[in-house]
């Protein structure tokens, strides 16, 4: 936890209300998000019990497995779920735009993408497990399931995977997103309780949030008291209606909280980088859709050596970009870097817009800016800098000391003999420079999967679907 977040948590505790740690919203909020609150049977890894979902806060759909240990009922539930989720997901495939690419064919990208919002990180994990249990099932052979089930399994796997991708908003976990924007006065573990976290943000901490009779857990795990005293007798009674109504009481409170949280996030203005990250989400979504349309096999059970390395490289790149973009978008995030000496802000006290380096043809314009700052600057001369005030501009640290930092602008000030108007800050302007830069560096190529070297086990076996898939251990 960073120093500023620690401070915000202490202040939250002191003042009895959560403190903002972001000035803008760092995640995309869809116009029509699909809120998905799943529940699982306690003691089971991935036995769905119920789900409340929908895009309309006034008309949630409740889907219930009245006997979760019955495999047929479970996959009937999965088919019902597919009946809601698949039309929602596929509804975004029709409107696309053509994207031109350098050194590659243009491709079609959806103009908008689905967003499935779950309450917490455990919900994301459960979605991934659901996807895992469905994507290898088949409509023929032993244990056949409805045709939509394996397709839903592939989509759920995709969404669950994408949720681990830094900066993606295709499947946000609500407590995580709230926690990125507000610091409560409770521990990180307690923040995973949606009711408790929302209470901290809106009205201040409340004991009610801990009472499962008032605020049942946001899932996927259920309250053990409810399991023993309500659910078990209802199941034993053999009345589906009784089970359904019992589960409705557990889901409805969370349903309300989810929409309240969405409203809270919607109250923040979106950060400048949100749109570009959502664009990547849309591209990824279209890629997945194309993959399915081409008839590719379901995602493998485990990543192969090459796939894992490729995914890691993409995720690291996304994480670095996400961190930089948030700092550029949000002065409160940038403040963290100012504290660690990787950024500094202050007032321009002197400039030399016409400064040049070199002679004759290699003469280059290098405007000089001197900034007075109170920040502890821990950057060495020669460090390359960027600034949120003038994105795309590059600068270099010349010297720093005694509260004065000299910076020379190296790119993005125009091509002429003099700097473009506005490219060099005026005396008196407040500016911020940082060594964080979001410069894309391609990563070196990986071998093809078929060429996996001996150090990594050699080429993997090809996956061929067979009846064994259906015989898999399941619980």
């Amino acid at each position: 936890m960073s120093l500023l977040t620690s401070l915000a948590r202490l202040r939250a505790l002191d003042e009895g209300i959560a403190q903002p740690i972001a000035t803008v919203r760092h995640c995309h909020l869809a116009a029509r998000p699909m809120v998905f609150v799943p529940l699982k049977l306690s003691g089971e890894a991935a036995a769905p019990l119920a789900a409340m979902l929908g895009t309309d806060r006034d008309r949630p759909r409740l889907l219930v497995v009245t006997q979760p240990r019955n495999r047929d009922l479970r996959f009937a539930w999965a088919a019902e779920l597919a009946g809601v989720l698949l039309p929602y997901v596929e509804g975004f495939l029709h409107r696309t735009e053509t994207v031109e690419r350098r050194n590659a064919d243009p491709y079609e990208r959806a103009v908008d993408a689905p967003q499935i919002v779950v309450p917490n990180q455990a919900g994301v994990g459960f979605v991934r497990l659901l996807g895992r249990s469905m994507r290898f099932r088949r409509a023929d052979g032993p244990w056949p399931v409805p045709e939509s089930v394996p397709l839903l399994g592939r989509w759920l796997t995709y969404f669950g995977e994408r949720a681990a991708y830094p900066g993606s908003s295709l499947m946000p976990a609500m407590t995580e997103e709230l926690g990125r924007h507000w610091a409560s006065g409770q521990s990180g573990l307690e923040d995973a309780n949606l009711a408790a976290l929302l209470a901290w943000i809106t009205t201040g901490p409340s004991d009610d949030a801990e009472d499962p009779l008032i605020w049942p857990p946001a899932g996927p795990a259920t309250d053990p008291g409810f399991d023993a005293e309500v659910l078990a007798p209802a199941m034993e009674s053999g009345s589906p209606e009784r089970v359904t109504e019992a589960l409705r009481t557990q889901l409805e409170p969370t349903w309300g909280l989810m929409w309240q949280a969405i409203d809270l996030l919607a109250g923040l203005e979106a950060g400048a980088g949100v749109a570009s990250r959502w664009e990547q989400d849309r591209g990824s979504f279209s890629g997945m859709a194309a993959h399915i349309a081409e008839g590719a096999p379901p995602q493998p059970r485990r990543d192969g050596a090459v796939a894992a390395a490729a995914k890691l490289a993409r995720m690291e790149r996304a994480q670095a970009a996400y961190d930089v973009q948030r700092a550029y978008d949000d002065p409160l995030v940038m403040a963290e870097y100012r504290l660690t000496g990787e950024a500094f802000a202050g007032e321009v006290v002197d400039t030399d817009p016409g400064n040049t380096e070199g002679e004759g043809r290699s003469r280059k314009l290098r405007p000089i800016v001197v900034i007075k700052t109170d920040d502890p600057v821990r950057l060495a001369p020669g460090a390359s800098l960027g600034t949120p005030q003038r994105r795309g501009q590059g600068a270099e640290l010349v010297s720093a000391g005694d509260g004065l930092v000299t910076v020379k602008i190296t790119k993005g000030m125009g091509r002429g003999r003099t700097a473009a108007p506005g490219a060099v800050p005026e005396i008196g302007e407040r500016v911020c420079y940082t060594s964080l830069t979001d410069e894309f560096q391609g990563s070196p190529a990986l071998p093809d999967a078929e060429a996996t070297p001996w150090t990594h086990g050699g080429p993997p076996q090809e996956y061929v679907p067979d009846d064994e898939d259906a015989q898999e251990e399941w619980s």
């Binding site: 681990a164 485990r302 994480q319 821990r378 070196p444 190529a445 996996t452 150090t455 990594h456």
Partner: protein, 425 residues
């Protein structure tokens, strides 16, 4: 612990043609670079081209210098990225060519580059490769370059810091090709029959340190010191003033270890008092004119022979700002890996902390910090680390399919702390 170092090296060289890969584990200062240079000359003598992979540009430059010093007739090509400026000492060497493409190098006996640079090379296969610091190399890097060679010698120190990532890689834990594991772990999981040799003697660590480091960080393989009690001496030329800092230096000079303990307190990472103490120790060490005598002769401990180590970058920056003489190296454990000094001053990773996270408990971090010195190591820490450790037993979730890793960071920390407590000031 079997055989003399010479015998181990001969066994390694004899194994090279018999196996696709050979692994050599080397504890701190056990002559790893010597082995790499020997093996390089040995392979080059067969007339077959050799590629060498190191992890950083400094390591590459060091290796080039050592190869040329030991075997002036070998030609060496040094591949580098575009922005790299070769140090002067490299350009002066006769058999060395520097270039950004393999074609620019002529046809040297040995081509050497960082793993990152090698990943961009393609279209040629070398019969031999030597991978240096292979335990610090992530397996996804090995995956990118493994197609470039047929056989390889992997050399590294298993006790140092594991490679890491800025993203959570739990999703791959348990896979035999987990990209976040070290190159050697992945290699050995897929090729369990490859021979693994161990260099048995540390030439760097003095007799006072080798048993401590060996017991804490290499509990099953172990190593011994190449010098014995009394071979290394550290003397302070001027008298002390009786301050705790002076007494800590005297204790370190006498016994090879000292723990300067500050009052128990929870602090921020850049603990002002601890930082001040570290800076003062460094300054006093130079002022008191320490002289180190060893099998290499007698020489003053100048600023370039002293290093200050800490866990975090902001701590390093704070220590720098607190007035450490500028010639003294101040750096994080990650960047001190593979380096050697006469005296080190260490800010204990757990000093002043409220919690002991996996990062701070990682045995490699403490191992790097406690094994850089030829003569003495002074540790600065807040009191109460033992209680902190007792309050934070390792509680990381156990992942299926992941081989148990030794040493356990928690236990290694206890072991070192136990030893340090006998040298407390």
């Amino acid at each position: 612990m079997t055989g003399s170092p010479e015998q181990v090296i001969r066994n390694v060289l004899a194994d090279l043609p018999r196996h696709r890969g050979v692994v050599v584990d080397s504890p701190p200062g056990a002559g790893k670079s010597t082995l790499v240079v020997r093996a390089a000359a040995h392979i080059a003598a067969t007339g077959e081209p050799l590629m060498i992979v190191a992890q950083t540009n400094e390591q590459v430059d060091d290796l080039v210098t050592r190869i040329c010093a030991g075997h002036p007739r070998l030609t060496v090509g040094r591949l580098s990225a575009g922005g790299y400026v070769p140090p002067l000492r490299l350009l002066e060497l006769p058999g060395v060519r520097v270039g950004t493409r393999v074609q620019d190098l002529g046809d040297p006996d040995i081509v050497i580059a960082t793993a990152d640079k090698w990943a961009w090379i393609g279209g040629r296969v070398w019969p031999w490769a030597i991978v240096d610091e292979a335990y610090q190399m992530r397996s996804d890097k090995l995956l990118r370059i493994a197609g470039l060679f047929e056989r390889a010698l992997f050399v590294g120190d298993p006790g140092q810091l594991d490679p890491f990532s800025i993203v959570d890689g739990d999703r791959w834990s348990g896979l035999s090709w987990d990209p976040l594991q070290s190159a050697v772990s992945v290699l050995l999981r897929h090729n369990p029959d490859l021979p693994v040799h161990r260099l048995p003697v540390s030439w760097r660590l003095p007799a006072s340190a080798a048993p401590v480091v060996s017991r804490a960080f290499y509990p099953f393989t172990g190593f011994r010191s190449g010098t014995s009690e009394g071979d290394r001496r550290l003397e302070l030329a001027t008298g002390g003033m009786g301050t705790p800092h002076d007494r800590a230096l005297e204790e370190a000079a006498r016994s090879g270890w000292a723990l300067l303990e500050l009052p128990n307190r929870h602090t921020v990472r850049t603990d002002g008092e601890a930082v001040q103490a570290v800076a003062l120790l460094a300054g006093r060490l130079l002022q008191r004119g320490a002289v180190a005598s060893s099998e290499q002769g007698e020489r003053p401990v100048t600023a370039d022979r002293v290093a200050v180590g800490a866990a975090h970058r902001d701590q390093v920056a704070a220590i720098r700002a607190a007035g450490v003489p500028p010639e003294i190296t101040v750096d994080t454990a990650n960047r001190l890996q593979g380096r050697e000094y006469d005296v080190t001053i260490v800010l204990h990773p757990l000093s002043g902390r409220r919690d002991a996270t996996a990062f701070h408990l990682e045995s490699g971090r403490l191992c790097v910090l406690a094994s850089r010195h030829r003569h003495a190591c002074v540790v600065v820490a807040r009191a109460g680390i033992a209680d902190l450790l007792d309050a934070h037993p390792s509680a990381e979730p156990v992942q299926l399919g992941v081989p148990v890793k030794f040493p356990d960071g928690w236990e290694a920390n206890q072991s070192v702390l136990d030893h340090l407590s006998r040298h407390r000031v």
